[in-house]
């Protein structure tokens, strides 16, 4: 028979007192252990001298494995150890602002470095060096199925009927911003007007089958069979190729130069080692290692020694107004150019 549920009185409360006490003791014990764990030294502080915290965007993780090894083989880097953190560029920047310990920071695009400048973590003079604060270059490329079955050769072929594009979501991915500005700038480089370039972006987004939240998600989506062409960093594509993925990399005739910033933080716990590491990364030896990993060296002398494809027209974000302006005009959620395009596309196709 179903049991009776009775309104309990105060008396019953006492009956469970002991049970609750037991539970309370258990919880207290666990909480104490939690506090004890919290009192342990923070993840990356008070380490033996010679430790450097590197916080970078996600793509260069394999590159840094090689670079750190090479650095440790030099006199300057012999006794330097590293703690490394990789993740989406914007998120990493936010984490550093929120307190993630960092001595060296390397992001995908400069607005993320600007976040740190604003928070006083990186000096505003970070880009006053000979390479304007950049450590590597790359370009925006197309990744297609091996053999290029859909004959993708340039930006125009991306918006041919039946072609499905994969590019990350520009509001959560730095790579996507590079991609869209490459597309926009390419139109301008071909002599089209700003209005025509914006119209092209509309076409591009119309053909976009998926907008994963990050560049690596986009690559995974593409490799899972979705879409005909993925727009991606050249170094990312080269890495995938080196891992044996069945892809072909197409260099668009017009594309943007991707420039990745690097800096030592102002409150670095180990500025000597940090600066030595950055110096190495910018040295010919370091740049050569970058080059072997698929990144275009920023030092012209080293770059000359590599055979990266040469697009006919290579432009920079500076020619489009610089990131601060571009970010505001194009990528402000809901009011920027890209948002307006997507709203337009969405309203017309969001039926049901």
């Amino acid at each position: 028979m179903p049991s009776q549920y009775q309104r309990p009185s105060i008396m019953r409360w006492f009956r469970h007192r002991t049970a609750i006490r037991l539970g309370a003791v258990a919880m207290l014990a666990s909480m104490v252990s939690l506090v004890v764990a919290a009192a342990f030294p923070a993840a990356a502080d008070a380490a033996p001298s010679g430790s450097v915290s590197l916080v970078a965007y996600s793509t260069p993780k394999p590159a840094y494995a090689a670079l750190i090894k090479a650095f440790n083989a030099t006199a300057a880097g012999k006794s330097v150890t590293f703690s490394q953190s990789f993740g989406a560029s914007g998120s990493q920047a936010t984490s550093v602002v929120d307190g993630l310990p960092a001595d060296v920071v390397n992001f995908s695009l400069s607005p993320d470095m600007q976040k740190l400048v604003k928070a006083g973590i990186v000096s505003s003079k970070w880009n006053s060096g000979p390479t304007q604060g950049m450590v590597t270059n790359s370009i925006v490329s197309f990744v297609v199925r091996k053999g290029n079955p859909k004959h993708i050769t340039d930006w125009g072929s991306l918006v041919k009927s039946g072609v499905k594009i994969i590019t990350p979501n520009p509001f959560s991915s730095g790579s996507a911003k590079w991609n869209l500005m490459a597309a926009y700038g390419a139109q301008l480089a071909m002599g089209r007007s700003k209005a025509q370039a914006t119209a092209y972006l509309t076409q591009l987004l119309k053909h976009t089958a998926a907008q994963p939240s990050s560049a690596s998600n986009a690559l995974q989506t593409f490799l899972s069979g979705e879409g005909d062409v993925l727009i991606d960093y050249e170094d990312d594509a080269l890495y995938a190729k080196s891992k044996g993925e069945p892809i072909t990399i197409i260099t668009p005739p017009q594309t943007i130069l991707i420039q990745n910033p690097i800096a030592v933080t102002t409150h670095s716990a180990n500025p000597t080692a940090a600066k030595a590491f950055v110096a190495y990364l910018l040295s010919p030896a370091g740049q050569k290692v970058w080059g072997k990993q698929g990144y275009r060296p920023v030092l012209p002398s080293v770059a000359a020694g590599f055979k990266f494809p040469k697009p006919k027209k290579l432009f920079t974000i500076a020619s489009l107004g610089g990131w601060t302006k571009v970010n505001t005009i194009f990528f402000t959620p809901s009011t920027g150019v890209v948002a307006k395009i997507e709203q337009g596309l969405g309203v017309s196709t969001a039926s049901s």
Binding site: M1, S3, Q4, Y5, Q6, R7, P8, R12, W13, F14, R15, H16, R17, T18, A19, I20, L22, G23, A24, A26, M27, S30, M31, S33, L34, A37, A38, A39, F40, P41, A42, A43, A44, D45, S53, V55, S58, K61, P62, S83, Q84, S85, F86, G87, S91, S95, V97, D98, G99, L100, P101, S216, L219, Q220, Y239, A240, K243, E245
Partner: protein
């Protein structure tokens, strides 16, 4: 069970499960071992992988008991007592579910991060919560908070308080009642609550990504390791890591919820006229050596 329905129900249930769960999980195992066991093994025995595994264990060992103790306590409170605001407690317990894990992480940083509400207080005492192990434990404990409560509470409500009341009026102590009557009756649901909680903590990713700082070899849990492996096209490593997570979850299930598909209490079939104290209540009553009068059910 009516034999007419047996096969249709079986086919429906098993078909749905196969399609939705078994095949995806199976493909994970397949992809992990596609290139041989040795490759998979070496992928998950790198220093980073081993540290991630160790960290995940620590997180589970702290977060799960915390959530379990909390869960049983709250379930007892909610099922046995009416008080103003009970509905609010009930709702708050479920809230972590409704918040996307990424948002959980953001919210924790808003309170315990460097620029958060307690930021200065914590920094002054040298306590690092965010971007360190405690933050990971907190994020994991938060997202898995509701499960024990939600599993145990309906059963406590379904069972009611008869036997406990009976035992009390016959002089049994509260602790004995809890151990001998309450706990056995919620054994099954508690087991499921613990396994769900453990599974959830194991699989937690979004919140941990935000609060851990993803420092390889220091604050990377197994889920972060898996995600990293995907990012670096180390597919075998990623799936092998997932296999480990699945195995741990299965182990926990085997330990806690073994044989829990068997039905009900020992007295499950009685004719309506039989007096029917449960076995555990009988045991309890007999040890207090009070006279027993059959309690009509």
């Amino acid at each position: 069970m009516t034999s007419r329905w047996r096969w249709p129900l079986r086919i429906l249930a098993l078909g749905y499960l196969t399609f939705l769960v078994v095949l995806p999980v199976g493909s994970i195992f397949f992809r992990a071992f596609q290139h041989g066991f040795a490759t998979a093994w070496s992928a998950v025995t790198t220093p980073d992988a081993l540290h991630a595994l160790w960290l995940t264990f620590i997180v589970v060992l702290i977060a799960v008991p915390l959530d379990t103790a909390f869960g049983v306590g709250v379930a007892l409170i909610l099922s046995r007592h009416r008080f103003p605001g009970a509905w609010l407690l009930d709702a708050f317990v479920d809230l972590p579910l409704a918040v996307s894990p990424v948002v959980v992480g953001i919210a924790l940083i808003l309170v315990y991060g460097k620029t958060g509400w307690f930021g200065n207080w914590l920094a002054a005492r040298g306590i690092q919560v965010i971007f360190s192990v405690p933050g990971i434990i907190m994020a994991s404990a938060t997202v898995a908070l509701p499960y024990v409560v939600r599993e145990v509470l309906p059963v406590l409500q379904e069972i009611g308080t008869d036997q406990e009341q009976a035992a009390t009026t016959l002089g049994a102590k509260p602790l004995a009642i809890f151990r001998r009557i309450t706990l056995p009756s919620i054994k099954r649901s508690l087991a499921y609550g613990v396994t769900l909680t453990t599974a959830r903590v194991l699989g937690e990713f979004g919140g941990v990504v935000v609060v851990s700082g993803a420092i390889a070899g220091k604050t990377e849990t197994l889920t972060l390791f898996i995600s990293d492996s995907f990012d670096n096209l180390n597919i075998v490593g990623a799936y092998a890591g997932a296999v480990i997570l699945a195995l741990i979850a299965l182990l926990v299930l085997a330990i806690f919820a073994r044989d829990t598909t068997k039905e009900g209490r020992k007295h499950r079939w009685r004719s309506p006229s039989d007096p029917s104290p449960s076995d555990s209540a009988t045991l309890l009553l007999s040890t207090t050596s009070a006279s027993i009068s059959p309690m009509a059910h």
